[in-house]
Amino acid sequence: MKKSFLFFCFFDIVKSFIIISIYNLTNDLCLPSKTFTQINQNINSTFQFEINYGQNILFTSDSFINIKQNLQSKLLISITNSFDVYFSRYSFNNFSQEDRSLIDIWIKYGQNLIFEDYAIYNIDIYRSSILRIGFQHSRGTLQMSMNAFSNINEGRFIFLRFFIIKNQITNSPYLSSLDRKRGQEWRKD
């Protein structure tokens, strides 16, 4: 039953887009609790949140909560040419990814990237889905608390990838814990 349903879906293209873009904002931005909540994505759909030329960006607790992705859907968050990006405790909470879905959080040309304890919490990554975080061409440090990524459940062929590319200063004292964390994730698949 489940298989025939999937088969049916591959020939159906939903491919819908929701894009929220912010460009050239001269004050800090705070994303409060439940800024994005109860989002249900299906077949090839895209939900994109992008900031270009902002200041400091704060994701408070539960700013993204209860997100469900099915069948190659994408949730893209990109923050470019801004300053600090701060993920508070439980800022990404309760995600479920299925069937080659992608969550992509990419910070480029920024300053510091900070993950509090339990910043990314309670994420199910199933059936070849990917959770990808990138920190690229930035001036500051990556600061990550010990349990920044917590309660991540994976199925088979899943990926949790963390990219740190071409930053000016990257070697924060927290990096060793990140490597250890990533090592654990990778050993599992």
């Binding site: 904002l25 909540t37 249900n40």
Partner: protein
Amino acid sequence: MPSYSYMKLYFSNFVRILLNEHSFDHITQEQSSELIINFDHFQSATLSHNTFYDFHQLDQSRFHLSLSNFQSLIIEETLFDTITQCKYLSF
């Protein structure tokens, strides 16, 4: 929004936006419809609780909210709530 419809709201050069609670409620975008809301060159914006609530997108529809060239943005709790991107509406 019916199939293949297109709506663009474009506001520019003003001081303040206030989108009240439930400003965009129960919107369903049918196949290949497009809704664009664009605010440009302003001072401040407040997006209230549940501005976008119960929003559904069907096949190949597109929604774009864009804010550009401004000083401050206040987002209240629960901005986007109950959003589905799906083939059919399920009740």
